[in-house]
């Protein structure tokens, strides 16, 4: 018992200050990408052709990047002859509408809070059932980590529960494989209304690396309505946490609501 206490003291206090204090991301962390179209040589399509999931579009509307499809890999950055695309360290990426994830230039319309009525229900206590529906277990790994002492999801009143019947909504990862489609639908139906759905990761938003495979359905919104999209492959735990807090109206300009 004495040893327990010694080890406990040695481990120290490990919960991060976010959202009150700004976290430090690793130097090479790939967050929100920015594009500078003025650098693009005429007719160049190198980035679009290098992108494994065709997330980059070059057409009449100029150069655009679909964050929902983006794997946050380095293929476009390496392909670009003019360094017109680069990653920033901004981990805030979540959006309410699928279209809001289509990035042109620098700005990104981050997720707005739920409407007042729903927020009154879920704002201070949100129970989520996680459904893994394909994918690689990477997103599950970084959702799980939110429950550790580092992120301590519980301090925000958010909890992952064991049954959809106990939940206020679903947190879906994976592209929804053909073999999981029915299970996702059933889990959704089992959640009592009103309910929300959160799609975490490139797979759950658009199919991820498996986009357009006949074995899957290109994401959660092919099966159930989605209220929050959290991009990444997998999203950093802070990206997920930031998205959840925004949805619940717990953040204002990136700071906790007073």
């Amino acid at each position: 018992m004495f040893r327990n206490v010694v080890i406990r003291l040695q481990q120290g206090h490990r919960t991060i200050g976010f959202p009150k204090t700004e976290p430090t991301m690793p130097d090479r962390f790939r967050g929100r990408p920015v594009m500078d179209q003025s650098k693009c040589p005429v007719g160049c399509r190198d980035c679009a052709e290098a992108c494994p999931t065709d997330a980059i579009m070059i057409d009449g509307k100029g150069l655009r990047l679909d964050l929902g499809r983006c794997l946050f890999c380095t293929d476009c950055v390496e392909a670009c002859p003019e360094q017109a695309i680069r990653y920033t360290q901004d981990f805030r990426l979540a959006a309410r509408q699928r279209d809001d994830l289509i990035l042109s230039g620098e700005s990104l319309k981050l997720a707005e809070a739920l409407d007042k009525k729903t927020r009154r229900l879920f704002g201070r206590s949100l129970k989520l059932r996680q459904v893994s529906a394909g994918g690689c277990n990477g997103c599950e790994g970084d959702v799980n980590v939110l429950s550790t002492v580092v992120f301590d999801l519980g301090r925000f009143g958010i909890q992952v529960v064991a049954s959809p019947r106990h939940a206020d909504g679903l947190l879906i990862t994976g592209p929804v494989t053909g073999n999981m489609r029915l299970a996702v639908k059933k889990a959704y139906e089992a959640v009592p209304a009103p309910k929300i759905v959160i799609a975490v990761g490139a797979c759950a938003i658009a199919g991820g690396p498996y986009i357009n495979h006949p074995e899957q359905h290109n994401g959660a919104d092919s099966v159930v309505p989605v209220d929050l999209y959290i991009p990444g492959c997998p999203p950093h735990p802070l990206t997920i946490l930031d998205g959840l807090l925004r949805l619940l109206g717990r953040l204002e300009d990136g700071r906790p609501r007073s």
């Binding site: 080890i7 690689c136 580092v150």
Partner: protein, 502 residues
């Protein structure tokens, strides 16, 4: 006749011995009797009859062998003589529509359509979509016998799978594991590659084993293209692979503690796992090592400052993991739950072909890093960590031994990083060639086999995740255990659903 080969050796496909089914069976049976294990057994689905290849691995003599045959529609199953191929034979039946006659439990593995038009092992038509989880599960009958069905959606944040327990009271008589929910068609999509998506498929075969699978793939590409990655890249791959092991083993120790209600170690290790992941992120920006391992070398180099940070963090994290792990071994209530729970004998383990931690926990010295070393492991040996009791305790304790050895390896490598470039140029792949690569991922032996066609594209790319060998081990470990010990046993194996389902 078989073709001997090395891990990562370029082969001419025409030289792979093609034998008739009877000779093929004899070869496999004889080699397994001599102590080899079946690292891979797979078909090449096409229009005609099905070429089948076996990769036989003898860890004691350090030899790998390839042998092939061709099957038109059925053949006498090998499972009765070589039980460890039972899962492979089900896979071949499902993918290629050939029937292993006399297979004791020929059921779908992933509930997917046959990839060989007009041939289906269960006589289904091409339009018929197999229904996941609908099969003839084993049933034990009798008074007071009951069945418990769990999944695909589980209570925790984990992947989907279906488990059927046949119970008498609290005791499990039999557990049947039925998977396929994570099937996303990766092997099919790899055909005709490599292309711009291939490396991303490899990094997401099992997201927690990004470095392991990407390394196996890159070694295959490098063999096929005749490219030698620079020494610095080989060392960085080794460091990343061991960091992956450190993170996952640490996470597993925490989760095991959680499953017996021992919260201190659970909560410490939850954080410490992340600290190891963050070390990987320091190198490549991704906690899971995305973008790090690339054909020809690695995608990111490290500078002095980065190496310094890694060294510092390694020592701090290891110190805290040591404290957290030792609490487990010193707490009688933890040991009481770990010891003699979910035990497997070495004999069973050998017979059903387990790999990785599960095999080493029964005293089997199975470790690719030692048996079939490639890359940096050809020059630096990591001793194989084993324990003899085969139970949850052994699987936990082997992880702890490996944490110490991996940390020592990372420390040593960071102190002596060779200078030079980190990436070599990769040319086109050799036509009509074959290569087998093996990597000891944190779960165990990862085996990739690539065959190219006349234009240097993949005619077949077979992935064997260690979980493919080990799921049946979990089923057997549960026999005569209390059903309430399932989460603990499950976590002690911690197998991949997506790596299995592909």
């Amino acid at each position: 006749m078989t073709l001997p080969l090395h891990n990562g050796e370029l082969l001419d496909r025409a030289k792979i011995p093609q034998q008739n089914v009877a000779e093929f069976r004899q070869q496999v049976i004889a080699r397994v009797r001599e102590g080899a294990r079946v690292a891979a057994l797979f078909g090449l689905p096409g229009n005609g009859s099905v070429p089948v290849l076996a990769v036989l691995a003898n860890g004691v003599s350090g030899t790998l062998e390839l042998v092939g045959t061709e099957i038109s529609s059925e053949y006498p199953s090998l499972t009765r003589e070589v039980p460890q191929v039972h899962w492979f034979e089900r896979e071949i039946a499902e993918q290629c529509g050939v029937i292993p006659q006399g297979h004791p439990w020929l059921k779908p593995l992933r509930f997917v359509k046959s990839q060989r038009p007009g041939h289906d092992a269960w006589g289904r038509t091409a339009n018929e979509q197999p229904l996941i989880g609908v099969t003839n599960f084993y049933r034990v009958e009798g008074e007071e016998v009951h069945e418990v069905a769990v999944g695909p959606v589980h209570a925790g944040v984990i992947e989907p799978g279906h488990f059927r327990f046949q119970c008498h009271g609290e005791d499990v008589l039999h557990l049947e594991i039925s998977l396929g929910y994570q099937h996303r068609g990766v092997e099919r999509a790899l055909l005709g590659g490599p292309n711009k998506r291939t490396i991303h498929y490899m990094e997401t075969l099992a997201g927690d084993t990004t470095v392991g699978h990407a390394t196996a793939y890159c070694q295959a590409i490098e063999a096929l293209a005749g490219c030698k990655p620079p020494a610095r890249a080989q060392v960085l791959r080794g460091v990343a692979l061991e960091l992956e092991r450190l993170a996952n083993h640490t996470g597993d120790l925490g989760a095991l503690a959680g499953d017996v209600g021992y919260l201190p170690t659970q909560s410490f290790c939850g954080r410490l796992r992340g600290d190891f992941l963050n070390m990987t992120a320091l190198v490549c920006g991704s906690r899971f090592g995305r973008g790090l391992v690339r054909p020809g070398g690695v995608g990111f180099d490290v500078d002095e400052a980065c190496v310094g940070q890694l060294r510092e963090r390694l020592e701090q994290t290891l110190r805290d993991v040591t404290g957290a792990a030792n609490l487990l071994w010193d707490t009688s209530s933890v040991r009481g739950r770990f010891e003699r729970t979910g035990a497997l004998t070495a004999e069973t383990t050998r017979e059903i072909g387990l790999v990785g931690v599960a095999a080493r926990a029964c005293g089997l010295e199975r470790d690719v890093r030692q048996e079939f070393p490639s890359g940096i492991y050809q020059f630096v040996q990591i001793p194989v960590s084993t324990y003899h009791t085969g139970d949850v305790f052994a699987r936990a304790y082997v992880r702890w031994l490996e944490i110490q050895r991996s940390a020592a390896f990372v420390r040593e490598q960071l102190n002596a990083l060779p200078a030079g470039p980190v990436r070599a140029k990769v040319g086109p792949l050799t036509n009509n060639a074959a290569v087998v690569t093996m990597v000891e991922g944190w779960r165990g032996e990862i085996c990739h086999a690539a065959l190219t066609d006349g234009t240097g594209r993949f005619a077949r790319y077979k992935v064997v995740d260690p979980s493919f060998h080990n799921w049946f081990g979990l089923a057997l470990a549960l026999r005569n255990q209390q059903i309430s010990d399932f989460p603990l046993c499950n976590k002690s194996f911690n197998l991949s659903y997506c790596g299995h389902d592909l």
